[in-house]
């Protein structure tokens, strides 16, 4: 009778035995025959891959190569963009440095025979100067700073 065997299975397959089966630990040697059969069924179901199941390995590897080769140009393009952005930033800084005013330092021509460092004003790093940098000689008199600029008036033709 099917319901009797169902009742028997319900009674004998307790939670601990079921968990052991699910974890792949099988059943104890003296377990009821239906549980041993169940353990065997699960073992067969979890068996190693058959030749038929593994037949697609070459195709899967080819798909992987195709996917990764398609992904690489994107990564390369991203790297190129980053390098280009860095180059633009560095180039822009260089251009700015070439047209921006030079740091303020005043060098007095030393008379012949006198060491120059007795006359030259030391650099801002060695002697901090709170005043903003003066424009370079090339810019002096050529460009006026905007109204908000704190550059000295000497850079604007004596303004």
């Amino acid at each position: 009778m099917w319901f009797l065997s169902r009742l028997r299975a319900r009674r004998t397959l307790d939670a601990a035995s079921a968990e052991a089966l699910l974890a792949g630990r099988g059943v104890a040697p003296g377990a009821p025959a239906d549980q041993q059969a169940l353990a065997q069924l699960l073992e067969i179901a979890a068996g190693p891959g058959s030749a038929g199941e593994l037949a697609g390995e070459v195709a899967a590897a080819a798909m992987f190569v195709q996917v990764t080769s398609q992904a690489r140009p994107h990564r390369t393009a991203r790297r190129v963009l980053v390098v280009a952005a860095c180059a633009v930033a560095v180039g822009g800084t260089a251009v700015y440095a070439s047209v921006a005013p030079a740091p303020h330092h005043k060098v007095t021509p030393a008379p012949f025979g006198v060491p120059a460092d007795h006359h030259a004003v030391s650099s801002p790093a060695a002697q901090p100067d709170p005043s903003p940098p003066a424009p370079s000689r090339r810019d002096a008199g050529l460009r006026c700073p905007p109204p908000g600029d704190r550059r000295p008036a000497t850079s604007c033709g004596g303004r």
Partner: protein
């Protein structure tokens, strides 16, 4: 399962090593296919192909151990199978001849004798003949080797509910086999 080798294999595959990817595939494809036989029936191979394509695309971004990798793989498989079911009418799982033989009432051979000659495909088909929620969790626990917590996350249920479904399914299978063991 690759176990201790898994981190190295995964790292190599994530950097585009085809051999390492093939290693992952060889290890995980059979359980994936068996899981998809439960969810997608005859379309299991096609769905598995879509899943591996997803894996190949996302592998470089994946972080985690082997259980997490399998969790990800089987989550992708579940999504793909759900998409497929939305596209098509559900295809019933056809029992193989082996299972038909096992289920036939009758003569004096026992289930054990029948199991001796049972193929993996037939064993999976027998599990797949359970209600889908029970079959799914049994396959994920037994064939995919996932613990109850990972299975619960994949199927979107609590671990307790997963346990109940799995135990119920096992009892049903034991009952069917017991009918053959006990005349």
């Amino acid at each position: 399962m690759l176990e201790r080798e898994f981190p190295d294999v995964l790292r190599a595959a994530a950097t585009g090593d085809e051999t390492a990817f093939a290693r992952l595939w060889r290890d995980a494809h059979p359980p994936l296919l068996r899981y998809l036989r439960v969810l997608a029936g005859g379309a299991a191979e096609d769905v598995a192909g879509e899943v591996w394509l997803d894996v190949a695309r996302g592998l470089a971004r994946f972080r985690g151990g082997e259980q997490e990798f399998r969790g990800w793989l089987f989550t992708l498989a579940r999504r793909r199978a759900t998409d497929m079911r939305r596209r098509d009418a559900r295809r019933p799982v056809r029992l193989t001849d082996d299972v038909a033989e096992l289920d036939r009432p009758g003569d004096d051979d026992t289930a054990m004798a029948a199991l001796d000659n049972l193929s993996t495909e037939a064993a999976v088909a027998l599990i797949a003949s359970l209600p889908r929620d029970q079959a799914e969790v049994i396959v994920l626990r037994v064939i995919a080797g996932l613990d109850a917590g990972h299975v619960a996350r994949i199927v979107g249920k609590r671990p307790g509910a997963v346990r109940v479904a799995a135990h119920r399914g096992l009892r049903t299978l034991a009952t069917r086999l017991g009918q053959r063991v006990t005349p």
